[in-house]
Symmetry: C3
């Protein structure tokens, strides 16, 4: 599995972290995290360099971790501050500390070279801090599939018709062409379906009476955050333009944490411009998303099992719907390759 | 595990196949099978070449499979017939199709070079279509052991005494010598036990009052079908000849499907010349066979575990009872080797 | 995992062996053991050299094992004594036999070159046969960790404070220095804590009213038997000497059986010079030990999981408390290396 290390990854929602030891696995690496009494979240390699006991098996004393085997103690910066029975602490006695940044109630950790960690690069979306929009947090969905498979699925409008026929898709418009912008970050795939019935989800929620112009904009921020901007406006046969400011608009955010080569956590939330403050409406959205994302999980885990099988033939079919996926894999490879250079 | 590819293997009893997608694993390869509306059974590689989703996760629409991820559609011959959102279908867009042949309510699939598939080579036994004989289908027994171990067991009269003392064997005659014919196909091992009590199974069923002349003919058809011809006739001290046409004769058929290196399905049935139409008798035979085959399964799975362990010493003891097994392994190796040649 | 083969290992308590086939795994090797009618315990490689069926799946007939597949029979010395259907038994028809020695109700097996097996080298402790001492057998604790990790833990006084605070340790004296004697066999680590409160275990049992002088002597006999001599005497501010003959003294014995690279059985017992014949007291000791050893198991299994992970950095911190552990690993490496020499 190709991992990009010089990047911010979501370690959890803010309320997952308190003044207690919390083990977290990201990019196959085990971290122990805790919120110090200053309010800042610390992240250390979860392994005492003495006998290799995970530090998360020890105790948090004040803002330091005491190893559960021999009492060796480390601070939030990874430096050893105490070795019982030994007055001198060698300078090599430390564990790796990872930069952490918290924004919009999400805790991010930087997995690569700490020198390159830039907090201003942590993901943001203006609507997350705009009172005209309503943010609602969903779940942390565990998917037994590599993050690249999961991310591809989130920049792929074409699958919606086949995987989510009862919630987000509609078979009638499978052939509507998709546009791509693959040079920037995020990578973008989008399409407009004009003068068509609303998707099953919107129809069920009673948002529209007649036909709509609807859109899907799939933004995939490297390496693994997706923003799906979708919505509908009452059909306007006169218009062929961008009508996203006119109708019901929802951002579905997916923060993918690559746990290991075959395991990804998808923490998802949604932000909407309709029914502000209506919790019942938000929960109805959640329920539809849960159905849809379980359908994705089902597909993605089957694909992972298939990928792990030894293959005799390596032929892979590429389709006209694939440009965003192909660009994404290439970009991930470039980023990983750049990290390997001296 | 050495697999012979250019051969017909049993995919299932005929009634296992209907107008629905049915995944089947043979020689470690995953197939999706279905009965088309023509009545013919189709077998395709169970993996969409686009994103690798198993086709069995999709839908059967008419006689074509629509992939569950993006709707790419394949016919029974493996050719792609539709790619949503893309008018042109490249000629490379196809999945492998496997020849299938159905005979005597058994579905066979050819796992090797389709050019070499010859339906006339599918296994047959004259008694299967002879009304003077009664055919009765048994079970599909899953054995967690390689097919070579299972097949050896089916050309090995010597184990019967030790593994099946309460059903098929009798300790009193362990030392009766076995004859072998190992040059042909099937490989044959057989012996006659003259003027002896009937085996426990026949005694329990009340088939004989006094001593019998009894026989065991183990035929192993390459690569993995066994026909065990066994039976008894009232003892005739005057005769030393072949008395198989005179008594109660049963063919126990074992169709071995090598699922993977350590997993074999043994579909078994029996054909008899006595108590024609007597279902109760057939079920009594079933019950005894189930006891016996569970004893084999027990042994064969323990052997498999042992084979998978790293071994420091490679010494294997060969015994006087081994000629058929030795010949069988050599023949399998020859067949597999011939397939590797250009 | 580095295993020392030329050594005696505990196969079980004496009463684990009767006139029945008993499979045992030691150093990753599978043995079948049984007590012959002579009273002697036999140990053979648990694998028939014919078809590899474990001999433990066969039958014990008199003092010989009949293989459950074809009846091939082996005696306690490993020689084949019968091959059904074959008059001549080739001299190669044998399985490996392992030397066995029984002492103090413990069955030991020699895993290396039988020529080097010396029964006088089997572990002994004079107190085991001294009526002034009371021996009490504990459990066979299965630990999913390599024996080297487990053994290190048994020559490591420093962990007691952190792992066993409610039973054997006391945080107040974590910094009392440890003495080491690492050149001999056993390797020794020990310390005295003078004029201090008794450990929680002794306090709970009401053994002392005031302060005590207490000791911990950790003896690690190569390759994997530990004797922990610990106890207390009423504090005597005048004395700085060895007071082990004056107070309550307990030997905690740990017989480690390396089952496989990641699996160790710790058979433990204790021998005491107080409350002779008081079974209730012995059971109270058992209960405290069970709590403490479960704490060790918890730590050691977490360390094993960590060791099995691929590691990007190999830095290991060595502490002032480590001399006995370091010496132990070096000695094991030396012994194993010596066995590899011609």
């Amino acid at each position: 599995m190709t991992f990009v290390k010089n990047a911010w990854y979501v370690a959890g929602w803010s309320d997952e972290f308190g003044h207690r030891l919390h083990p977290v696995r990201i990019l196959g690496e085990d971290l122990v995290m805790y919120r110090a009494s200053t309010g800042e979240v610390a992240a250390l390699k979860d392994r005492c360099p003495h006998k290799l006991l995970p530090l998360s098996r020890g105790r948090l004393i004040d803002d330091r971790i005491e190893c559960g085997y021999h009492g060796t103690t480390f601070g939030a910066d990874g430096r050893c501050t105490r070795i019982p029975g030994q007055p001198r602490i060698p300078p090599t006695a430390r564990v790796r500390a990872f930069p952490v940044h918290e924004r919009h109630d999400i805790v991010w950790v930087w997995m690569g070279d700490p020198e390159k960690a830039d907090a201003s690069a942590v993901f943001d979306l203006p609507q997350m801090s705009d009172p005209a929009w309503d943010s609602h947090r969903g779940d942390a969905l565990h998917i037994r599939s590599g993050y690249i498979n999961v991310a591809e699925n989130l920049v792929d409008p074409a699958h919606v018709t086949y995987v989510h026929p009862t919630t987000l898709g509609s078979a009638a418009h499978a052939a509507v062409p998709v546009e791509y912008e693959t040079d920037g970050d995020p990578i973008l795939a989008y399409r407009w379906i004009r003068d068509a019935p609303p998707i099953p989800l919107f129809a069920r929620l009673g948002l529209f009476e007649g036909n709509v112009d609807r859109w899907q904009y799939f933004h995939l921020h490297l390496p693994s955050t997706a923003v799906i901007d979708f919505g509908s406006a009452d059909a306007d046969p006169e218009s062929t333009g961008d009508r996203r400011r006119e109708g019901v608009r929802i951002f579905a955010l997916h923060f993918l944490t690559p746990v290991a080569a075959n395991h990804t956590i998808d923490r998802w939330m949604h932000i909407r411009n309709t029914r502000i403050g209506d919790e019942e409406f938000a929960r109805a959205l959640d329920e539809s998303f849960r159905v849809a994302f379980a359908e994705d999980k089902n597909i993605l885990e089957a694909v992972q099992i298939e990928e792990e099988k030894p293959r005799d033939d390596e032929f892979r079919l590429q389709l006209a719907i694939d440009p965003a996926c192909i660009a994404y894999r290439a970009r991930i490879d470039e980023l990983a390759e750049a990290e390997r250079l001296p």
